[in-house]
């Protein structure tokens, strides 16, 4: 097989009708450009929106559910064994919010290789005092640095510094709308009433803006130590352990495992946010469908130009066959033409797609709930470029296959005798 010669012939046939081939290549270029830009933009937006939830949600959240004892005294009485009982207003005595033996559990989870990191939390309801008015809210005691590593905490701090939470004692970060409501600025005192009725002064060191206003209106963050102090609990008091895994997909299985191992409630992210993935997967699907549709249209363009070329170059094909080129050679030559259009158009498409992505990336975009975002989000995942390349090659190959098979079957006798 003499590939060099076949390439030379394919190349000269391509150049002989360079205007038509250019139009066909532009079709591919256009579709790949749109495919790359659309997917980059769509998934960029998806990532941003998913990030609103995903960044701040633990893959597994371990906590102690306050619940009634499933074995009530009446069920222990043997004479009522065959009866069915109803008890209303059962109280959950002896049930506590805190996690028992928390230090050991935290140590065990940290040692687990599947875990990327954990962040224990002290969660407590509280009232924020504004003169006589009390605003109900919640305070989470967190380790700011760990929280940032796992949940990008600092990205949502709009004023002040998250690090100060660990260095300044008795400090608090409030949701921006809550701070506005309390009429406090950074440096001011905030008075917090604890569930047990004590009033605590805390220093406001920053604003927090998650993008979900209802949440920001009740949320305060403080250090773990401060939270333990507010609630009057010992230093091993934790209400939640948030776990981030290396592989998100493992969450349900590991949650189950922890649940039985530690005797805690464990909620995985898939169960907690079952519906949110649907939206993003549908948006991605739509982008793929549009991209592939464009490519198929481009494929028809290539099919047309090749068909035309074959009718035009009937004589050339006949003489090539008469002088010793087999049907296979002819087929390869036309496939090369198709792939040549695909490779050229596809490469240009990748380049233009990248440039278009850069352009979209530069368009100003202000998202009220995400102050760190200033332009449209674009995802430059190389996977889309690889997929784009593969698609362009596959479509051009398919578009070239039928005309090439036709060309390979041309009978030189009929062409030559027909003259």
């Amino acid at each position: 097989m003499n590939y060099k010669l076949n390439i030379e012939i394919a190349g000269s046939l391509l150049l002989a009708r360079w205007k038509q081939t250019l139009v066909a290549a532009i079709g591919v270029t256009f579709s790949i450009t749109m495919f790359i830009a659309l997917l980059g933009f769509m998934t960029g937006l998806n990532k941003l929106l998913d990030g609103l939830i995903l960044n701040r949600t633990a893959h597994i959240r371990l906590y102690n559910e306050i619940e009634k004892n499933p074995r009530q005294p009446v069920s222990r009485v043997s004479m009522y064994k065959d009866f069915y009982n109803f008890i209303s207003s059962v109280e959950a005595v002896n049930s506590r919010e805190e996690i028992y033996n928390s230090e050991a559990i935290i140590g065990a989870i940290r040692a687990d290789k599947r875990v990327r990191g954990i962040s224990p939390k002290v969660h407590t309801p509280a009232f924020f005092n504004e003169g006589n008015i009390r605003i109900a809210g919640v305070i989470d005691g967190i380790n700011a640095r760990e929280e940032n590593e796992l949940f990008h905490f600092y990205d949502y701090i709009t004023g002040g510094s998250g690090d100060d939470l660990m260095t300044i004692p008795n400090s608090i970060i409030l949701g921006k709308p809550l701070a506005d409501q309390l009429l406090v600025n950074i440096g001011d005192q905030v008075y917090v009433t604890t569930p047990s009725g004590d009033i605590f002064p805390l220093k406001l060191i920053g604003y927090y803006q998650s993008g979900i206003r209802d949440l920001d209106k009740i949320q305060g963050y403080t250090s773990i130590v401060t939270a333990q102090k507010i609630t009057g609990k010992p230093p091993d008091y934790y209400t939640d352990i948030q776990v981030k895994l290396n592989d998100l997909g493992e969450a349900p299985a590991i949650a189950k495992e922890y649940k039985s191992l530690f005797g805690l409630q464990a909620v995985d992210i898939q169960t907690a946010n079952s519906e949110f993935e649907t939206g993003s997967s549908i948006r991605t699907l739509i982008s793929y469908v549009v991209g592939i549709t464009l490519l198929i249209v481009a494929g028809f363009g290539i099919y047309n130009i090749l068909n035309m070329m074959i009718y035009e170059k009937m004589d050339s094909i006949a003489i090539l066959k008469a002088t010793g080129f087999s049907g296979r050679d002819v087929k390869i030559i036309f496939l090369m033409i198709a792939l040549g259009i695909g490779i050229f158009g596809g490469t240009m498409g990748l380049l233009l797609g990248y440039l278009l992505s850069l352009l979209i990336d530069a368009i100003p975009f202000h998202f009220s709930s995400l102050p760190t975002i200033t332009t449209y989000p674009v995802n430059y995942n190389p996977a889309y470029y690889v997929i784009g390349t593969l698609f362009s090659l596959i479509t051009t190959y398919l578009a070239g296959m039928f005309p090439a098979a036709k060309a390979s079957k041309i009978d030189p006798v009929i062409i030559i005798r027909g003259k």
Binding site: D315, A322, F325, S326, G327, D329, D411
Partner: protein, 226 residues
């Protein structure tokens, strides 16, 4: 091994077009090395059909065909293409040059396909034949910019590039004026006499046929004189 180049035995062919029309009936003959043979006959007598069977391009026939001692009948298409490339040179009524390539490149194409010599050697060879045929000054031109007679000479050079066992021609002068026809005939005679090239030319021109070594006359799908 005899010096037989091509041997056809009992070749018959029928066109199936609603009714069966026999075009070739039991044709047998042999061409030896160095012969300049013409097949003559009126239009429609089956001489071109015969030529395309002998050229291995038409495979739908009965009987058997040997080229250079090798049986061609029912060989796979790829092998037939190789045989055409290596052992047969073609000159048709129409020149069939590729306009995308220069004259030189057109002549070189079958040689490049055979890939037995380096590109340089093939180019030397092509230039030699263009020189013999007196058209070496056209080698860089594109075929659509040269005259009909010149095109046919380029086609002859292309047929010669692989040193073929036999050159087959289907009315090679059919499209040319008197002067160019004579020129082509002279070239064929020269090839036959000086280079001992075997030639098989189909023609309807009795004058052309009389200048060949051997004449095969056909009528109604049969050989009537040889």
């Amino acid at each position: 091994m005899s010096n037989s180049v091509l041997e056809a035995s009992h070749i018959s062919k029928t066109f199936h077009d609603h009714i069966d029309v026999p075009v070739l009936k039991d044709i047998s003959f042999q061409i030896n090395k160095g012969e300049f043979v013409s097949v003559m006959g009126k239009s429609g007598c089956g001489k071109s059909t015969l030529l395309y069977i002998l050229s291995t391009m038409d495979t739908d026939y009965e009987g058997s065909l040997l080229i250079d001692g090798e049986l061609m009948t029912r060989k796979p298409g790829i092998r037939l293409a190789e045989v055409r490339n290596e052992k047969i040179g073609f000159v048709f009524q129409f020149h069939y040059l590729l306009n995308e390539f220069s004259v030189l490149r057109n002549v070189m194409l079958p040689g490049l396909k055979l890939n037995r010599q380096s590109e340089k050697q093939i180019e030397q060879n092509a230039l030699k034949w263009l020189n013999v045929l007196g058209i070496d000054h056209l080698s860089a031109r594109k075929p659509n910019l040269i005259s009909g007679g010149e095109k046919q000479r380029v086609a002859i050079a292309r047929a010669l590039i692989n040193d073929p066992l036999i050159i087959m021609g289907d009315e090679p002068t059919g499209n040319l004026d008197k002067k160019n026809s004579w020129l082509v005939l002279d070239i064929f005679k020269e090839l036959s006499e000086q280079f001992q090239q075997t030639l098989l030319i189909v023609t309807h021109d009795p004058e052309f046929a009389t200048h060949t070594n051997r004449m095969i006359e056909m009528e109604d799908g049969r050989i009537i004189r040889q």
